[in-house]
Every structure is written in C-alpha cells, then in structure tokens.
C-alpha cells in the first residue's frame, strides 16, 4: 500500500526533473539541439500533471481534503508502515559506496575481496565465529580467483592494481 507521503514526494520529483532540465536547456544557444529534449520535458510535465491529478483523487478518497491541512497528509493514512530493513539496506549501501569509491586506490582485486568478505560478515544475520569467518574468507578468495581468471586471463582486461600491486 503506497502511503500519502511517498506519493507527494514522488509527484514533486516528477515535476522537478523536467523543470530543472528545461532550465538547463535554456543556456543552450543552438535552438535545433534543444528541440527534442524540450518536447520530452513537456511530455514529462504533462504526465506529472496527470499523476498529480491521480494523487488528488487518491488523497480525497482516503481523507476528504480540507485546505490547508496539507501537512497532515504526511502521516501514512492507509495501510500502515511497511516493515523495511533500513539498517541492513543502509549498511549495504555504505559498503557499496566505500567499495566503488576506494577500489581504484586500493586495487580492484583486493577491494573486491575485502568487499565480498565484509558483506558476508556484516550483512549476515548470524553472529560470526572464527570458523565461519575463515570459511567466508575462503569463499571470497575463491570467487575473486574466478573473477581474476575471467577478466584478466580470459578477457585480458587491464585492471588497475592500486596499492596492492
């Protein structure tokens, strides 16, 4: 069940994207180069208007609108909150961000191994033991060996070594 707050944010973003893009296009001097993206932005604004209209119907249905009680919609009114593993997803996001932004410095294979191992240790709901950590390190090492064989040996891709090599 999509709640009201989510739909309001979604509709706002749907308006914001084409408006920002139209603003960026205004700096371009060659008219012909901006015709196609401009038409697309207009189409997106049209679709955002339809979505806003659908949102208005939706909000009216779950609670009749009494202006200006706009802020009250920010409370989920129907269906309740959907349980969402925020901490786990947040940790996964943090791990991936660190991995992507550090890999060039650390080295592709070393960072890949560390990311694989960290994911297995941190995201696993079971408490790690020395034996399980060792096993996971072995899995990570085996997987990276396969990746090394595929990319560097078979495909001959030049992978930056970073500080590791």
């Amino acid at each position: 069940m999509i709640n009201a707050r989510k739909r309001i944010v979604e509709t706002t973003v749907m308006f914001a994207i084409p408006i920002i893009c139209l603003n960026m296009l205004s700096d371009i001097s060659v008219n012909d180069a901006k015709v196609f993206p401009k038409y697309i932005c207009y189409l997106m604004i049209g679709l955002a208007i339809i979505n806003a209209f659908q949102l208005w119907i939706y909000l009216n249905k779950i609670r009749p609108i009494h202006w200006p009680t706009f802020l009250r919609w920010s409370i989920p009114l129907k269906g309740g909150a959907v349980p969402f593993p925020m901490i786990r997803v947040g940790m996964a996001l943090a791990l991936m961000t660190v991995y992507v932004f550090c890999m060039e410095t650390v080295g592709f294979y070393l960072s890949g191994f560390l990311f694989f191992l960290a994911t297995l240790l941190i995201l696993d709901p079971d408490r790690p033991t020395p034996a399980s950590a060792g096993r996971k390190a072995l899995y990570a090492l085996s997987f990276m060996a396969v990746v090394y064989f595929l990319f560097s040996v078979m495909l001959g891709v030049m992978i930056p070594g970073g500080i590791a090599l």
């Binding site: 060659v30 196609f36 993206p37 697309i40 979505n51 992507v100 997987f143």
Partner: protein, 503 residues
C-alpha cells in the same frame, strides 16, 4: 539458403562451447532466487564486448533462452518464480513437487521449454527476412514513430501504472540526450565532466537492472523459504517424455500462443504463460484438476514462455524495437559492437544475424539436455544464500561496467543510476522503460532531426510526421498500446476494489 549456410558455420567448437556454457550458466542464473534473466544477460554483456559480434550474440542468446527455462526450477521447488515468465509454472509445478513429483515436473518443464523454444525459433527464422525487407522502405518519420512505439509499448505494459511507465520511458529518452549532440556538437545536461561522453549503454543496463535487484536481495536476507528437495530416481525421465507425447495439444497450443504473444513488443513470457495455462484449462475435459499438480499445466506454460524467446527477437532484429526487457539488453549487446538492428543487419552483417539465429536452434537443445542434467542438482543452486548473491553480483556489476571502456566514470554512473532506480522501483517505477528510452532515444532524435529537415523543405512538420500509411499505422499502435494499458489498469483496480469490498 542463407540460414543453412550459417547454421553449419555456427557449429565450430568454440561456438558450441559458448552455447553449452551459456545454457548451463543461464539455467544456473535462472535457478538462483533473486536473479532475473534480464539481469543475467545484462551482467554478461560486458564479457561479449571482448568477443567477435557473432560469438557474443551466441552467448547472450543461449543465456537468454536458458535463464527463462531455469526460472521454472524455483517456481516448482520453492513456489517463487525465477522470472515473471514462470509465474504460471507455479500453479501446477509446485503442487507436483508437494506430491513428491518434483523431478518429473522439472523434466517436463525443460522438455516443454525445448519444444516451445524450437517452435519460437522456427517462427523467427521464417518471419524475420520478409519483415526486414519491408522495414527497408521506412524513412525518418516511420523510424521515429517506431522508436516511440518501442518505448510506449514497454512503458505501458511493464510498469505498475501507465503514467509512471510512460514517465520512465520519457526519462530514459532524456537520459539519452546527455552529452554532446552528434549533429550540432552542443553539450546538453553535462553538469559533471564524467557525463561529457553521455551515458554508455552497458553501465546503464547493469545499473538499472542489477543494482535494484541487489538491494531487493539485501531486504530478503535471512528469510527462510519452504524448499522441496528430492532424490533423483530411475525411469522418471522416460515417464516425463511419455507425458509430453501424450499431451501434444498442450505443447502445440502453448507454442502457438507463446510465439504469437512473443512477437508483440512488450507482452512477454508472463502474459503468454498465463494465457496458455488458461486456454489449456478451458480446453481440458478435466479443468477441475488444474492447480492440483498435473503435467498438462506445466507443459502448456513452459512451452509457451520459451516460445516467446524467438519471436521477441523479430521486432528487435528487423526494426530495432525490443520485444521484451531482455531483448532490450540484447540490443545493447548488438550496439556495443557497432551493429544496428534493421534491414542492414541482414544485408551488411548477414553473417552475424544468421549465425545468431542459427545458434538459437542449437541453444534450445543445449538448454533442454543440460536443464535435465542440472535439475537433479538444483537444490545446490537454490541453497546459495542471498548474501553470497549480493556480494558476487555487486563485484560482477562493478567489473563488468569498468571493463567495457576501462573507465571508473562508468562504474560511478552505473552505481548512481542503479541507486536511483532502486528508490524509484519502490514507487512502482520499472527499469525496462528507462532502458528502452535510453537505447531508442538516439534513434528517435536522429530521425526526428532528419525528418524535420526534410519536412522544412516540403509540406511542413505536421504533414510529414502525421501522414502516410505506415506512420498512421504505427501511431495507431502507440495509441492502442497506451489505451490497452489504461484499460488493463482500470480493470485491475476495479477487481481489487471488488475483492476488498468482498473481504
């Protein structure tokens, strides 16, 4: 004649190895819970970049075919479809597993997939050349409308709501405008240096399809699923073959429905499977047995969903309109080698086109044979914890994105697009229209610009783009596809309201 020549050409040891490897890999990826065929193919596209075009397409085609069939393993054993195309497989497949006939259900699934797949490829072989010849007559206006049709049809059918689907398609078209305009040399939407060259297709494909799935897997870490395991027994394969021979009506009807639906851009295996199951039930003398675990249910669904694979490539190879999200990824596989779908693919690059089509025939046999062999050990694949998938797929996404142009910018673009798509997917936006918009955007803009120049020297823009037989047919198809999607959405919400009021 062309086909037979290239059929023999694709039988080289290396090509055969690619087909077998692709079939095994596709089945394993399809059987792994949480990995869709689209994502499987998207992850493999960077590998094909370093191969010859025909070899790369052979690998992708084999994986595509096998991943759709592999999805039936989870549908039968865990009651979770490996891909949307396998939804209807659960109706009778899982009850069969519950009755202790999991092995037979799996064999039936792969045998029927092989039969349906061969039928679909036969349709592809016979219909592609004449349609390609017809497409040679198309000018800029027709090609522009075809690109628009490609986006609208996927946008309408693959998303939660029509408005969001169309918006996502339009957003994809806008993404395709990022970078330098090839005609006027003007930079557009370049707010960071890494966007100067525009958004490359492969990192975008990987990011949009794989990253949201990785996060979905993260959400489901630790969930315990009820899995049906079995021990392989002698004589079951013979029994399954006997069942297949006893029910020719089911696989024939499934194959015909699958081929027809597959050729319609956007419809896909999910629709085909559900329709085939429904029709098979209606035709049966014992419809009450459907859903209790009978072979007919599995045969009709699996023959139909694999029959969509071949025909889904017809609009892709002849006009550049992908019939499904996976076909859109295959289009990416063509584009990275500088090959553009359309009539020229069958004249200038006939060797690539026909070798690929010919390999699809052999891939069906490889899928059926290795599917039956792997089915016996499917519980090993299914027991891989989600956490391993998260780590492994992320590493592959990063390396795959990097390896195409040896660029870290591509990795960051892939990651950012994927993260954005994950947030959007939580609001019922689908990645398929964005990808279609991104891929078909240059085709649409290029033909729009060319058409505009022609129109300015002739009868004007409106007259050029809105008249002419083909233009009107394609515009009508766009309107019908959107109208049909709106009608389906209205009908679904009406049914939901009815169900809620009943409850």
């Amino acid at each position: 004649m062309d086909f037979m020549t290239y059929f023999l050409a694709c039988l080289t040891p290396f090509n055969m190895m690619l087909m077998v490897g692709g079939a095994i890999g596709g089945i394993l990826l399809g059987a792994a819970p949480g990995l869709s065929p689209t994502m499987a193919v998207a992850l493999l596209v960077p590998f094909t970049f370093h191969m010859q075009p025909a070899e790369g397409l052979i690998l992708l085609g084999a994986v595509y075919t096998a991943a759709v069939a592999g999805g039936s393993i989870t549908a039968i054993l865990i009651n979770i479809p490996g891909a949307p195309a396998n939804i209807a497989t659960m109706f009778d497949g899982h009850p069969m597993a519950k009755k202790g006939k999991a092995e037979k259900a799996l064999y039936l699934s792969f045998l029927s997939s092989g039969v349906g797949g061969l039928f679909g490829v036969a349709v592809l072989i016979f219909f592609t050349p004449p349609i390609a010849r017809m497409a040679m007559e198309f000018g800029p206006a027709e090609l522009f409308w075809l690109a628009v049709f490609g986006v609208t049809v996927i946008a309408g059918l693959s998303s939660g709501t029509v408005v969001k689907g169309l918006y996502a398609g339009a957003f994809g078209l806008l993404l395709s405008c990022i970078g330098e305009n090839p005609v006027y040399g003007v930079e557009r939407f370049v707010f960071s240096d890494m966007l100067t060259g525009g958004i490359s297709i492969i990192p975008a494909l990987i990011g949009l399809f794989a990253i949201p799935q990785i996060f979905t897997l993260v959400e489901s870490i630790g969930q315990i699923l009820e899995k049906k395991s079995f021990t392989a027994q002698k004589g079951v394969l013979r029994e399954a073959l006997g069942d297949l021979m006893r029910h020719p009506k089911q696989w024939l009807m499934g194959s015909v429905i699958g081929s027809f639906i597959g050729a319609i851009p956007g419809a896909g295996g999910q629709v085909a499977g559900l329709i085939a199951y429904d029709q098979s039930k209606k035709m049966s003398k014992t419809p009450e047995l459907y859903g209790t675990g009978i072979p007919e249910g599995v045969i009709s669904v699996e023959s139909s969903n694999n029959a969509t694979v071949g025909p889904a490539l017809i609009p892709l190879l002849t006009m550049g309109i992908p019939g499904s999200p996976t076909a859109a990824v295959l289009l990416g596989g063509l584009l990275i080698h500088g090959l553009f779908p359309g009539p020229e693919l069958f004249t200038k690059h006939a060797d690539v086109a026909y070798t690929f089509i010919a390999s699809m025939v052999i891939s069906q046999f490889a899928m059926a044979i290795f599917g039956i062999m792997i089915a016996r050990y499917s519980r090993i694949v299914m027991n891989i914890p989600n956490i391993f998938m998260v780590a492994a797929v992320t590493v592959l996404c990063v390396y795959g994105s990097y390896s195409v142009q040896n660029s870290m910018d591509d990795v960051i673009i892939m990651f950012c697009l994927g993260l954005g798509m994950y947030l959007c997917s939580r609001n019922a936006f689908s990645p398929a229209p964005v990808v279609l918009g991104l891929i078909l955007g240059p085709l649409a803009e290029d033909n729009f610009s060319r058409g505009k120049i022609i129109a300015q020297t002739g009868d004007g823009l409106m007259s050029y783009f809105l008249t002419g037989g083909v233009n009107l047919i394609v515009i009508s198809l766009c309107v019908i596809s959107i109208g049909w999607s709106i009608y389906s959405e209205y009908k679904l919400s009406k049914n939901n309201r009815h169900a809620m009021s009943q409850a």
